[in-house]
């Protein structure tokens, strides 16, 4: 977060979210319309579909200092493009296995289905991710690895 505006040096988790344009992005909009407050630690990247989310993006997010990453899209059956989320789901499943073997902390990688109607779910999940990440602390392992590069 911007150094000037930071009131204390307390750890503020940095979350990057890749969300689909048709469900989760609208769900986040709905959270706004309903004024459902949540921590400001999340930065949303709008993509057309979770099917577009290439996994190097997640690695990239850690490289630039993210403490947790969220990928979220439409519930199964609701995909604007009929099946993008199904494709994504299969890849996520495999990618998690790989990350786990490499020793990347799976508690820092979240996947969710949030529909355009689920503003409250968005709020709840983001709050939970921020709280949990705050509890875990900065992703020192990855940060160190980047710093040493």
């Amino acid at each position: 977060m911007n150094a000037e505006t930071k009131s204390t040096d307390a750890f503020e988790p940095k979350i990057v979210a890749f969300v689909c344009n048709w469900c989760t992005y609208l769900g986040a909009d709905l959270a706004g319309t309903n004024r459902l407050e949540y921590p400001a630690n999340i930065r949303i990247l709008r993509l057309p579909c979770t099917g577009r989310v290439d996994f190097n993006l997640i690695v990239k997010a850690f490289e630039i200092g993210a403490d947790a990453v969220l990928v979220s899209g439409c519930h199964p059956g609701d995909c604007h493009y009929t099946a993008g989320n199904f494709h994504a789901r299969r890849r996520w499943d495999l990618f998690r296995e790989l990350l786990d073997t490499v020793g990347i902390d799976l508690n820092r990688v979240y996947f969710s289905w949030i529909s355009a109607a689920e503003g409250a779910k968005f709020q709840k999940l983001v709050t939970e991710i921020v709280d949990k990440t705050r509890e875990m602390g900065p992703y020192e392992d990855y940060k160190k690895l980047v710093a040493e590069s």
């Binding site: 977060m1 911007n2 505006t5 930071k6 009131s7 940095k14 990057v16 992005y25 609208l26 986040a28 909009d29 709905l30 959270a31 706004g32 319309t33 004024r35 459902l36 407050e37 949540y38 921590p39 400001a40 930065r43 949303i44 990247l45 709008r46 993509l47 057309p48 579909c49 099917g51 577009r52 989310v53 290439d54 996994f55 993006l57 990239k60 997010a61 630039i64 200092g65 993210a66 059956g77 995909c79 604007h80 493009y81 009929t82 099946a83 993008g84 494709h87 994504a88 890849r91 709020q123």
Partner: protein, 679 residues
């Protein structure tokens, strides 16, 4: 050299209350490539837009970021602004600092910092935007309507009357669908066939409608405005151009009245050459190859029977008929494949759905479903409208009607309400009571759902005037018992209003089975790239605002294939689909969003990962040849007419030869990296 203009909106107090807009503008002005950064009370207002336009012209901006509300709200507005100001409308990005910032974070300092970052991301993205031109595709002014029940008939007539050619495909030998078999319709009790038959005749005669009965959609190629559809015409063994429909063939068939007629749900019989019902359109017969003695004997090299051909004056019968494939080119497709009733039997095809062994349907002959009852009570039905029960032809004196059989029953695997059963069951009780004055009609229901013009009055009439006995409760079991030598069906039910069990001995039981999409609809949906839910009901683009469009451009839906609905709703939706199709077909050409996938053909290894992953079959493997026609290499190539821009291909492409315009890797990585400095 980039010169980006950033315009931060106060949205009145909506943003400015929680975001220090001056501080934002100041911080953004320092970002590389930003040529101007300012804020204003209402960017979407007329003066706000002209402020942007003026700056574009004055400063020669190469890109614009508007930091205000959600792009779903005003991206179109600001694109237009840019276009009017003379720069390409795709050179603008929005930063959502209202829905996703000021409205959800109350700490002004924190929200301001976040707003700066969100705008920073947008700036990095827009620096990498390119001018894009909408994709233009030509339109074939012809529509395909799949299914010729009341929905398909209505849609076809409306499109045809709008002056556009229609190909109407129906898999049964006649048009008419389920409605042609109904007795009378709620809430007016007018005769279903009387109102439908004139429409059926009209589709048969309309100069703009090409009717293809006994035919099915085999294959769909192409894309919006330019579909190529292959239709399989099944062998009918009767040349309907030669046939006059005189009837001498079907009257002479030795199998006449010996084969169960599926139009009567096997309660009545027909011959091996038959018309399914007297008002059929086309009024031309079909030979059922499984039951025709000649066609069966031909398999063994013999030529038995053939009486129908001998009787035919016009030589219309052709025992050597074969199925044909016809290709039609259309610009729009309307799906109207309707419904079928849930099979209540113990055995079910779909392992997810369970049968009602406790009701004995399929085991007890006088336990029928509601469509069978329609035929039993219909004047044109197998009993001539006299209510007779199937087992022994006796007039039932006591009939039990059970609603929600399958519907709203999680244990059987169907959770939804079938919507029309409350109404037609009330109708059934009335029709029964009108014919059997001393009879008892008992209804077991869970809730009465009779929203609709004159609908509740109709249900009340069944209870108050015609004396149908309504019990609020489900039936647990039906047993066949003998009472004083009479076959009865003992229904163990409940009256939850009284709080007691209720046992009714019935002569006949009518089960209001759940409405399911027609068989084969999911396969059709896959051919059309239309989504469907777990039950196979087709998905509309938006449940409220785009109820007849689908996410497959150029494909529209109407009627019960999209969800359970009654005749008035079906007809209204059919007209709506026809209207939408006509609007589309009235354009000289179609424009489509240019934010679609693209392939770097030089680097593509043509591994085909994208081809298989594309939900729209929009990518194919093509050959690259030099001017002389020598083969150079293979590559994937995107069909811009078909691509919807989901980007699944980008994610699966190992070499990243695939990219998504508008959301390129270049843009996305830049957005992420813009956060590196602040994180």
């Amino acid at each position: 050299m980039a010169k980006i203009g950033v315009f931060t909106c106060w949205c009145g107090e909506n943003i400015a209350r929680n975001v220090d807009v001056d501080k934002v503008s100041e911080a953004i002005a320092k970002l590389p490539g930003v040529g101007c950064s300012m804020n204003y009370k209402y960017m979407c207002s007329e003066p706000g837009q002209s402020l942007i336009a003026t700056k574009i012209r004055e400063l020669g901006l190469t890109g614009v970021v508007v930091a205000s509300c959600s792009p779903h709200m005003h991206l179109k507005t600001f694109r237009k602004t840019c276009e009017l100001a003379g720069i390409n409308p795709y050179l603008i990005e929005m930063a959502n600092i209202r829905e996703q910032c000021s409205w959800v974070h109350s700490d002004k300092e924190v929200a301001t910092a976040k707003a700066i970052e969100l705008i920073g991301m947008a700036v990095e993205k827009v620096r990498r935007n390119h001018a894009l031109q909408p994709i233009r595709v030509p339109v074939t002014k012809r529509a395909l309507v799949i299914g010729a029940g009341v929905a398909g008939i209505q849609a076809a007539l409306d499109v045809a009357s709008g002056g556009v050619e229609v190909v109407l495909v129906e898999r049964e030998p006649s048009v008419g669908g389920k409605m042609a078999g109904l007795s009378e319709t709620f809430p007016t009790l007018d005769c279903s066939q009387c109102i439908l038959t004139p429409r059926m005749v009209e589709v048969g005669q309309h100069p703009n409608i090409k009717l293809m009965t006994y035919s099915e959609v085999e294959k769909v190629d192409g894309y919006v405005g330019n579909f190529k559809v292959t239709i399989r015409q099944k062998a009918r063994y009767v040349d309907i151009a030669k046939c006059t429909g005189c009837g001498s063939c079907w009257n002479a068939c030795p199998k006449k009245n010996k084969i169960p007629n599926s139009f009567d749900y096997n309660l009545g019989n027909r011959g091996a050459i038959y018309i399914p019902f007297p008002q059929a359109v086309p009024a031309r017969p079909t030979i059922d190859p499984d039951n025709c003695m000649r066609l069966q004997s031909m398999k063994n090299g013999k030529e038995l029977c053939g009486i129908c051909a001998k009787k035919c004056q016009t030589n219309a019968i052709n025992f050597h008929d074969e199925e044909k494939f016809v290709e039609v080119e259309v610009g729009a497709i309307i799906v109207a494949t309707g419904y079928q009733l849930y099979s209540i039997k113990k055995e079910q095809e779909n392992p997810r759905i369970k049968g009602y062994a406790e009701y004995g349907y399929g085991k007890y002959p006088d336990v029928v479903d509601s469509l069978q009852f329609e035929r039993i009570i219909s004047a044109s039905g197998p009993t001539g409208g006299e209510p007779k029960r199937p087992s022994d032809g006796k007039t039932p004196k006591s009939v039990v009607f059970i609603q929600c059989v399958g519907s709203r029953d999680n244990a059987k695997g169907i959770t939804y309400c079938s919507k029309i059963c409350c109404m037609y069951t009330a109708k059934h009780t009335m029709l029964f009571k009108h014919k059997v004055h001393d009879g008892t009609a008992s209804v077991f229901y869970m809730d009465i759902r009779s929203g609709g013009k004159m609908y509740d009055e109709f249900v009340r009439r069944a209870i108050e005037q015609d004396g149908a006995k309504y019990y609020r409760g489900r039936v647990s079991k039906i047993e066949q018992v003998m009472v004083d030598g009479e076959r009865k069906y003992r229904c163990y039910g409940a009256d939850t209003l009284k709080g007691t069990p209720v046992v009714v001995d019935a002569d006949m039981v009518v089960l209001a089975g759940a409405i399911m999409p027609s068989s084969g609809v999911t396969q059709l949906a896959q051919k059309l790239s239309v989504g469907y839910n777990e039950y196979g009901f087709l998905s509309e683009s938006h449940p409220k605002l785009r109820p007849v469009e689908t996410n497959a451009a150029g494909v529209f839906v109407c009627g019960a294939c999209q969800g359970p609905k009654d005749i008035p709703e079906t007809v209204a939706q059919a007209s709506a689909a026809a209207g939408k199709a006509l609007i589309m077909l009235s354009q000289p050409e179609l424009t489509r969003e240019p934010e679609i996938a693209t392939i770097d053909e030089k680097l593509c290894a043509a591994c085909g990962a994208c081809v298989k992953a594309c939900p729209y079959q929009a990518i194919s493997i093509e050959e690259i040849r030099d001017r002389k026609g020598n083969f150079i290499k293979k590559t994937s190539r995107v069909n811009p007419g078909l691509c919807m821009g989901c980007g699944t291909c980008v994610a699966v492409c190992p070499s990243k030869s695939a990219d998504l315009i508008g959301f390129t890797d270049d843009q996305v990585y830049a957005q992420i990296e813009s956060l590196a400095d602040v994180f």
